[in-house]
Symmetry: C2
Subunit: 440 residues, 2 copies
């Protein structure tokens, strides 16, 4: 062994990494989410991890902490003529760029899912990572996009999340037209400023929002009261629209928004009571949303932040192509959800390896018999490994036990004798034929 300096590695803050038994559960989640997306006909795409910096910045997302790439040996070169590249901070900007770039090769409405890592150079904190996986679905179309997608997307997300063993969560829905129409109806000039303030309601409370709105936003007390009244309306059926109308504000945009919100709630009324609710305080900070907006949070820990988010946008690819391409999408914050459950010790049942059967080696001269048995079991669909050496039975069983392998197979010590298989859960050991054995 060479005499080198040994530096025991430590985790890099904000870049999560899992042990195999935890990863196996994450993989199960990813498979489940993918199957849920495909069940509704969404197609997989992946985009490069990087985009040109001007594409990343085009939507004015300068508040996002972007990681840029530099070649370590760039100095030694005669010059690096490459465009500046940054790691994508979400999957929405890359998707918009993808649709514009491949416009002529896609059939619309284009429905895609994308499950990839994204990067943000933020200070890591609870629920915030520097590298994390998002699972996005979006539908994008030319010129206009039917409203029923606004209802289908939360349905898909509901179905997908319901299949994971999560603490209770709620998907909240709102509509930007309701907010904008209402704010305009009470005489507010800059509805976006109010939207951004109200979006902070759950963090800073009524008083915090009031301070912003009366302060820098310059609203009257009456206007602020109206905004806060609106923000406190919540409910899971169309009575929500009645409550808003009762506030007496007149605006065509408001009415349009209430119709759309009502349509979404109506369409989802078959889902379990309370799983999707209208929450008029939900605004989503991003400027590009124009209609329906979504946000899901854990019921017992709303302060952890959104675990899913999205909405409808009229023109996300506008900087890339002279076509109107409206869309609607939701993103599931996979790592944010998963990491919380890992931290709370709620990820259980993961296995350290995918092996169904470990074939024991009775002695060095019986290895070929063990290999033949394993090949047969593999052909029959069982993930099978052969113990790596001839060793005492106890040692071989201990290995299987530590790796959580459910069955240990014993080929005979000599030809003509019977095989046996041990069920590690029950401890029972029985005769078995590798050509016909089935999992009990």
């Amino acid at each position: 062994m060479s005499e080198q300096r040994v530096v025991r590695p430590t985790p890099i803050s904000g870049f999560p990494e899992w042990l195999p038994e935890v990863r196996s559960v994450e993989l199960r989640w990813l498979d489940h989410i993918r199957a849920g997306f495909e069940r509704y006909g969404f197609a997989s795409i992946e985009t490069p991890s990087v985009e040109k910096l001007d594409a990343l910045m085009a939507k004015g997302e300068t508040s996002q902490e972007v990681y840029t790439l530099h070649r370590l040996q760039a100095d030694a070169d005669s010059g690096d003529g490459d465009a500046r590249l940054g790691l994508h901070f979400d999957l929405t900007v890359p998707f918009a760029r993808y649709v514009a770039q491949h416009f002529n090769d896609l059939t619309f409405p284009f429905k895609r899912y994308q499950m990839q890592r994204v990067w943000r150079g933020e200070r890591p904190q609870e629920g915030r990572f520097r590298e994390f996986t998002q699972c996005d679905i979006d539908v994008i179309n030319v010129d206009q996009i039917p409203l029923h997608f606004d209802a289908e997307l939360p349905r898909i997300v509901h179905e997908v999340l319901s299949g994971l063993d999560l603490p209770a969560w709620t998907i909240s829905v709102n509509n930007r037209k309701v907010l904008q129409g209402f704010y305009e109806g009470v005489g507010i000039d800059d509805p976006l400023a109010v939207i951004r303030a109200v979006d902070k309601l759950h963090k800073i409370g009524d008083d915090g929002v009031r301070a912003i709105l009366t302060g820098e936003a310059g609203l009257s007390e009456e206007q602020v009261n109206a905004c806060l009244e609106l923000a406190h309306i919540k409910g899971s059926d169309t009575s929500v629209a009645d409550e808003v109308r009762r506030l007496g504000v007149r605006s065509d945009l408001l009415l349009e928004g209430l119709d759309e919100l009502g349509f979404v709630l109506d369409s989802l009324s078959d889902l379990p009571q309370g799983s999707v609710v209208a929450d008029l305080s939900i605004a989503r900070g991003l400027d590009y949303y124009t209609g329906t907006v979504y946000e899901a949070t854990f019921d017992d820990d709303p302060g952890y932040g959104s675990i899913c988010a999205g909405g409808r946008y009229e023109d996300l690819a506008g900087q890339f192509i002279r076509r109107r391409l409206p869309g609607v999408g939701i993103s599931i914050g996979l790592t944010r959800i998963f990491a919380k459950l890992v931290a709370e010790g709620r990820i259980e049942g993961g296995r350290a390896c995918p092996t169904d059967v470990m074939v024991a080696v009775p002695g060095a001269d019986r290895r070929s018999e063990a290999l033949r048995t394993a090949a047969l079991l593999r052909e029959r669909g069982f993930n099978t490994e052969v113990f790596h050496q001839a060793a005492k039975v106890g040692k071989q069983i201990q290995y299987a036990s530590r790796k959580g392998i459910p069955f240990v197979w014993f080929p005979p010590f000599e030809d003509g004798k019977a095989h046996e298989v041990k069920d590690m859960a029950s401890g029972e050991q029985t005769e078995a034929d590798p050509a016909s054995w089935t999992r009990p």
Copy 2:
């Protein structure tokens, strides 16, 4: 639509991206490779995309063009105290770091697979990308690792590659001990220098290698002749060892290497003739290999470079932990293989979406019937989408046809009438019940 500058996006050189129909094939490949690895009991892990720069550099891989990460807004901060981070350029260094870091939580021999993107800041050229996916399997153990893994790994890779529709390929095997022992046996002081020169044989030919060996390496003509004779030995059975012995070089290390090479060839003798061959010119440039080495290339385009590569190493994690952790591993260059086939138009049969059945909407008032039908089909395991609006039947069928959806379902125009389903391949349209229909 806002009046903004429109910049039609162009691809970023070296960062491949696929259309949905191509991606669907890539996804099928990834599933197939994963299933192949799991069939032999290998566990999935993923590591962060980044490692600390000193970890990436510890093996002296300074020839690799590493991308480092910088926070775009780092200047504005009070100071960035983070360790310098680089994107990993392979999955071997991260794996070694992972094993050292989680040593106490792993059961050995630890068998893992890892299918992730890696990055190299090289000038892109044919077969070379800046971002690409590798599929690695490695077994690592404490103190020693049985030789039969040297044979199991190429078997797994053989099985996996055979299930993909690839142009003919060959896995070449050699053993570093054979090379090193032979070189020492003919009196060469610095065998590694010769290994690195011989590794270029396929690129620069006999004369090129001869020039290096007589030049900077300072070998005699006799030594060079012996090295080149060895390098030209090739064969798929143990007669290869006889040919080497016939060269008359004496070295215990050489004999040990020939035994190991013979064991690997013997163990794989049941595979189709010529699929795994011993090729004494295969050296692999990397310093850390110590025994068996592997390299696979396309038969009709060996100059395209290796499509799989790997070998045995005695102590890869030595810079991270004071334990001897030998291992053996192979990496499949997924993107390198896949991109070549895409470029040659050999990726066929991919579908633009995963939808099995598109449910047509006979009219706006029948949408709820269409949604009910779709929900039933989904429950029964069919990926199903509902056409996005009430439109002429021809338009709805055209959408399904463009997306390659195999079946179009027609709910009845009124309750009580029969459903019908159209097989898009045959054009046949028949009555069907969504509660019992099966794919013909």
